[in-house]
Symmetry: D3
Subunit: 135 residues, 6 copies
Amino acid sequence: MGDQMPPMFPIISDEEASERVGAVFADIRETRNTDFINNLWRVLANDPAALETTWEEIKRVMAPGELSPMIKDLIYIAVSATNNCTYCVRSHTASAKAKGATDEMLLELQAVTALANKTNRIAIGMQVPVDDAFI
Amino acid sequence: MGDQMPPMFPIISDEEASERVGAVFADIRETRNTDFINNLWRVLANDPAALETTWEEIKRVMAPGELSPMIKDLIYIAVSATNNCTYCVRSHTASAKAKGATDEMLLELQAVTALANKTNRIAIGMQVPVDDAFI
Amino acid sequence: MGDQMPPMFPIISDEEASERVGAVFADIRETRNTDFINNLWRVLANDPAALETTWEEIKRVMAPGELSPMIKDLIYIAVSATNNCTYCVRSHTASAKAKGATDEMLLELQAVTALANKTNRIAIGMQVPVDDAFI
Amino acid sequence: MGDQMPPMFPIISDEEASERVGAVFADIRETRNTDFINNLWRVLANDPAALETTWEEIKRVMAPGELSPMIKDLIYIAVSATNNCTYCVRSHTASAKAKGATDEMLLELQAVTALANKTNRIAIGMQVPVDDAFI
Amino acid sequence: MGDQMPPMFPIISDEEASERVGAVFADIRETRNTDFINNLWRVLANDPAALETTWEEIKRVMAPGELSPMIKDLIYIAVSATNNCTYCVRSHTASAKAKGATDEMLLELQAVTALANKTNRIAIGMQVPVDDAFI
Amino acid sequence: MGDQMPPMFPIISDEEASERVGAVFADIRETRNTDFINNLWRVLANDPAALETTWEEIKRVMAPGELSPMIKDLIYIAVSATNNCTYCVRSHTASAKAKGATDEMLLELQAVTALANKTNRIAIGMQVPVDDAFI
């Protein structure tokens, strides 16, 4: 798999990380209880302010709420498949599995995503007006 | 709300429904336990084969599985918001609420959808390569 | 239907048209054999160079070739439904009908568009590798 | 071309196919009059119900109607290019060619797809209101 | 213009604003030097944490940097037109004009956005490989 | 990087170029003051009329105006990232850099693009009505 094109900005290693970036990396490691930091963060680290706020947003938005973190990962995958983001489909599928998502759940997710993309275009293509009951 | 543009094909009333279309309408009513048939089906009824198979697909895909029907509606909303389908956002929000989705769940859904759309473009725009761990 | 929002730029009337814009309007009228000039051209007329080149491109690309103008309008509708462009869905449906597209053709078009949007996301969501036979 | 990433679900071989999946594979072979079964079906086979219904839908929707199967493949390509689905662009181009699509047709298709994507954003970006004549 | 559909969540008035929401509203007013708070913030206020972080992000990202706030608004419009977000096209056009964007700039922006959407699909539809010089 | 899939149409070399295509290639070289002609043009050369008009459009639209060519490239990148066009993201980033775009500008661009994609879906997902002030 070494033939992917390189990113548009350097992948920041631990050694290259500034103090500010290093602090975020440390928090990622502690929060996720793993030494692994995936490329999204290492590339985003070229913009330390974006790294900080995006990481804080991920932590807050993906935390347990009325929806579980696993369900939130499934929603993330549905959006990422719709937008054709290979990186995000793969990273959030790994994340969902780590939180207990079964293959069956992932297949149900794919089926809903595919169907929604289909009926979205039926509604748009045929210009279906919104029912009063839905307004 | 009478100022929406009309659809590209007629809205088929119960009276105008052929026997084939009428059978689907009857199944929608029985399955959902309501007399109400929303415009998507009434417009799609111009193509009876598409009406039948799409309705069967919705019934099968949105049925209880390892994911609940309510969670499936939330996923539907996430896709529909990403694709900007007003009809689908509104109809599946109504459906999710009818199945017990709370405002808090819907707000969490919006936050995940917005964040995924953001990080999708970070991954794409910066051309972040997929980590070996995700392949 | 008077409640649509106004465009971001003025709708240029015949009276307001500069000589350069007027020449394009005249060519639209002659080419289409109608006095009617739809809003897309009247708004685009705020940028006369864009008006000229876009009109020339439409004339060239939508002309009879190995694909008929009607088939080209159907393809236009498929793209426009996928992109959710109400204006383009409606204007090209009117155009396709004027060129002989039947309701049955338009329904088949809708079905293909909906299905393609569905299987696009199956291929992307499940990350299906391209078969050697297709490369 | 062996460096594509693997799919998110296994590619089901003939040997691994359940009886239910095998029946669909057999129908694909008979319908298409070829032994070749492309990856989309082999990956989708992880969800046998989705495999069955999607295959049935493809058979029905892509069958000869008022539009020919070749024209339907061209429409499929236009949608797939707009959604950036590499798999679908390549598989349906192969399919269209097998049905007689010439390079010239495919180039005309590309030109229409490109132009529609351009004017879609002119209509949306300038917020052009739909003409009464199109409503 | 009173015929737009209502939002999916209430528009929070100043009177309904909690202390937390009120603090953000006050900062919006002070930062923008106007009493006007647009609907995006009043609807997002249903999720106070999202309101706070999104407002902070807007303030930080849209601030003067190596790109001016006006140029950033133009980029915002290009994305919003591509995604077909009417709200965002209109609000950021108003914002760009307030910062000095001329009609000519906005027309140039529209032309670039339209052209990029066109050539994006040429590159994707024809599956053009990235030149070594760009990697 | 030799493992990208080939394009759907041949890459036209200088030797294979017709007189008509050669004239465009010559103008590209003269205009850009380089011998290098990137793949987009060499693939598009399969459709000489499309090559001519697209090149003329690029020359006109990307020329200095009230917006500088560099700023126009940044807008191009924002659209291309939103549409997930790898080719266009990479080629216009190279072009922007050649015109003086700094890494800091490109990072600001990424941040605006990501944020716009996020708030686009907040506005759409929550169905925020356009304020009268923006109409």
